[in-house]
């Protein structure tokens, strides 16, 4: 029985020439994946499209899976970096603003190359366990947990673990669907709004029963999502 192939790069390029080769290989991989789909992508075809010999390809990547793994890793790292940046950017903003900004940023990022996004994500289970994707996921969860903890006074859910699981799952799936499977008759804006609405209502504390004279530490029940103002702290 064929063993599961390795997915780690074989060796790193050291000179400028070889770095160019590796870049060409990865670019060609993306191109062929999008053009032909995963099944009909082969290392021979990738090498041909990249304009390098099949031998060169195998100098750096031991298998087709390794090629895809490298692309996925790069892709996830970009997303993680984006998310982290955005999170710092909106860290002080009111929760509704932050939620919408993060969702919107994710959708935008995934919309840049929707076909590549789609193919790569479809291959994550195949390649995932063998590269750093699991760590990335963990990282996303940690980021979100940190945020929720920081904001715990303004947030309803008490079961943080469950909330993080639910929100990460939902966020990943919905932004991916919006970027790659959106029916034409619904706009991206509408969908992002609707998603932000759902997440906000999930996070938002219940409106207190008593009259609201006092200065409490909660989000307004219907914060205007577009308005950017500092929180009462």
């Amino acid at each position: 029985m064929r063993a599961r192939p390795r997915t780690t790069p074989r060796k790193a390029p050291r000179q400028a020439r070889s770095r160019a080769t590796v870049d060409a290989i990865l670019a060609a991989t993306a191109q062929v994946l999008v053009r032909d789909g995963y099944d009909r992508t082969s290392t021979n075809k990738v090498a041909e499209v990249a304009g390098v010999s099949i031998g060169s390809l195998y100098q750096y990547y031991p298998s087709k899976e390794a090629l895809v793994a490298a692309l996925i890793e790069r892709h996830m790292q970009r997303l993680a970096a984006l998310l982290e940046t955005k999170m710092i950017e909106v860290g002080e903003a009111p929760v509704p603003v932050a939620v919408r900004a993060l969702l919107s940023a994710l959708v935008d990022a995934k919309t840049l190359e929707p076909k590549l996004q789609k193919v790569l994500m479809e291959q994550v289970p195949r390649v995932g366990r063998l590269c750093k994707v699991a760590q990335m996921d963990k990282h996303f969860e940690d980021l979100l947990r940190g945020y929720l903890q920081m904001r715990h006074a303004q947030i309803r859910p008490t079961n943080l673990d469950a909330a993080v699981f639910l929100l990460v799952t939902t966020g990943a799936a919905v932004t991916h669907a919006i970027a790659t499977d959106r029916p034409e008759h619904i706009s991206v804006e509408e969908l992002v709004d609707e998603t932000a609405e759902m997440v906000m209502r999930y996070l938002r504390p219940d409106a207190p029963a008593h009259d609201r004279d006092e200065d409490d530490d909660e989000l307004p029940a219907r914060a205007p999502v577009t308005e950017l103002h500092p929180l009462p702290s």
Copy 2:
């Protein structure tokens, strides 16, 4: 370049003997898929495990993809039937009860054979366009849209199309994740509760600002999810 393989069955069994053969083939497909994963599943191996000759297999299915497509189709049909049954069962129940019941039923169904569930769903994109999966998805959406329309007086979202897209995407992803990727330290119950809570808060109309003397047509702001009572109609 290799063409995309057909995924429709070649011919239907007519006698009891051949029906048994086809059953054995599908059972073996499921078993090998779970044991070895998609990539290392081959038609030869499936035939061997099924105890039939490779020739017999090709009498009924023209490719490996066709085998998986058949399994996926059967699987989706079961889910669809379950969902439809449950929906009728809870059609008259209050929305919170219905939401929780549907989510719970889906998670239960997907938890029965989590590994098979996982492998099959991972192959949907590969096989999906060529079998009836898209129709199934459409069917789910129609079911939900019907329900939301029926309940529109008790429900907040006005953009039905967006709501249906969001809820179907979320429901599919989250129930799948709960059944196949749940971290051990969180219970299924907790996760289903949390999900139901999110969906409910998304669907629930805003509590009116005025005092609630009158008999209005909305859900109670915090309906106890476990209690089953007829709606005011």
